[in-house]
Symmetry: none
C-alpha cells in the first residue's frame, strides 16, 4: 500500500508541460506545435490523451488548431474571463484559520433590514451573525459578516466561536449538503458604523466600500448573506475584462 501521493491525470501533465513551454518561450506565439503523433511519442500516452490536452489548451485560448495543418501557439490567454472582484466567491473558500483572520464575534442578533429582505424573513428575525476581521501587513483590510438563518445553522459548526478550519462552501456542502449555485453582489459606499470604524481602525468620517452578497442555491433562494466592509481608501476592488468584437 502506501503511495499516499495524489497522482494527477496524464492529460493534466501534458497541459501543464505545454503551457510551461509556451510561457517559457520554447514555443513562441505563431509557431507550430509538435503534431499529435509526435506528442504521443514524446509523452508516451495515447492519442486520446494528447487530443484532450490540446482541446483544453484551445478552449482556454492558448492555441488554435487547424484541420489538416496543425496546432498553432496564440500565447498566454488574455485577461478574458479572469474576474478580479468576486469577493463573495473567494469568501466561500477561505478557511478562517488563514493567517491574518480573526473571528471577532459569533452570536444571535436581530437581522438587519437588508439581510432580512434578502433571506425572505420578517424584519427583526433572529439570525446567527458570524464576524471575522482580516489584517494584512498590520493594517485592517476588511471586516466580513455572515448571517445565517437558524435552520441552516442546525447541525453545523457555524455557531462555534472558534475559527472554521475549512471554507464555508466545503463545510455547508459536507454537513448540510448545501451547494451554493450562484452569488449576487451589491456594492455601495457609506460611512462606517461606530463598531466598524473601531474594528477597522479608521476615522468615522472615512468612507467604506460595502459589498453585500446573497448566496443562492440552485432554486435561486438566498440561503445566507455575507457582507464585506472595506476601507474605501484602500482601492481593493479591481476587475479586468476583454472587450468583445
Amino acid at each position: 500500500m502506501s503511495s499516499l501521493e495524489f497522482e494527477p491525470p496524464k492529460y493534466a501533465r501534458v497541459v501543464l508541460e505545454l503551457r510551461r513551454r509556451i510561457e517559457n518561450g520554447d514555443y513562441p506565439p505563431g509557431s507550430l506545435l509538435p503534431s499529435e503523433s509526435q506528442l504521443v511519442r514524446e509523452f508516451a500516452v495515447g492519442r486520446t490523451t494528447v487530443v484532450r490536452a490540446l482541446q483544453m489548451l484551445q478552449q482556454d485560448g492558448w492555441i488554435t488548431r487547424e484541420h489538416g495543418r496543425g496546432s498553432f501557439v496564440k500565447g498566454r490567454p488574455g485577461p478574458a474571463g479572469v474576474r478580479a472582484s468576486r469577493r463573495g466567491l473567494a469568501l466561500l473558500d477561505r478557511p478562517e484559520t488563514q493567517p491574518g483572520v480573526t473571528v471577532v464575534d459569533v452570536g444571535q442578533v436581530d437581522a438587519p433590514a437588508e439581510v432580512a429582505a434578502l433571506l425572505g424573513l420578517d424584519g427583526g428575525s433572529r439570525v446567527l451573525a458570524r464576524r471575522a476581521l482580516t489584517v494584512r501587513d498590520e493594517i485592517a483590510s476588511d471586516l466580513v459578516t455572515c448571517w445565517f438563518p437558524p435552520e441552516l445553522v442546525y447541525g453545523t459548526d457555524l455557531d462555534q466561536p472558534g475559527p472554521l478550519p475549512v471554507g464555508l462552501r466545503d463545510h455547508l456542502r459536507t454537513v448540510k449538503d448545501l451547494r451554493v449555485d450562484h452569488i449576487s453582489e451589491r456594492l455601495t459606499a457609506r460611512l462606517p458604523t461606530a463598531g466598524e470604524a473601531r474594528l477597522l481602525q479608521i476615522k468615522k468620517s472615512e468612507p467604506v466600500l460595502v459589498m453585500v452578497a446573497g448566496m443562492h442555491d440552485a432554486s435561486d433562494v438566498v440561503r445566507f448573506v455575507a457582507e464585506v466592509v472595506m476601507p474605501g481608501s484602500l482601492h481593493e476592488l479591481e476587475d479586468v475584462y476583454s472587450v468583445p468584437d
Copy 2:
C-alpha cells in the same frame, strides 16, 4: 454524389438534444440525468461520444457531474460572464445624445496623478478632460470624466463641447482606427470633491463610489482613462455570477 447536407458531429446532436430537454423542462434543475450507459443506448453512440457531450454541457454550466453519483441538471446557464458592473464597457458605447446625459465641461486640464500614472505621463501633463453628467428620474446618478492625451484627440471631435452623437468606441475606431482591447477597472470609496458634490447634488459628507477605468489597446497600453463618480447611497453596482464546481 449529392448529399450536399452538412452532417453535424454526433456529440453535437447529443449536446443539442440534452440541452433542449433541459430548457424544455423534461429534465428539471436538480434532477438526475440518465447515466452514461443509458445515453449510450438511447443515442446509439459510443461512450466516448456521450462523455464528450456531457463534458461540454458541464463546461458551459448546464450540468454538474459527480463521481459515483451521476450527472445533475443545473439549469440554463445563468448570467455567468454577463456582468452587471463593467460600467467601463457600457460607457464606451453610450452616445452622449442619450436622454438624461449632459456634457458639463470639455477642456485642457493638468492630469490628476492617478490618471497620469495610468497613461504613463509625467504628473501635471496637459490632457483633455471631458465630463458628462447623467440624470435619471430627476436625480443625478453619475458623473463621468474621460481623460485623453493630446495625440489621441488630434483629428477627433473629442474636444468639441457638444455631445458626441456616437459612442466613444465607434468614434475612436472610425476616426483613429483605435480599438479598445480590454479594460481595467478599479473601485474606491471616498468623499466627493466640492465640484462633484455640487454637480451630483449631494452633501459633502456623503460618500461616493468611484470607478477608474483604463482603456487598453491590444498592446496593453492605456490609451485613455475614464472615471465614474456615483453617490454611494444609490447602490448602483450589482453583479451576479454562477459558482464553478
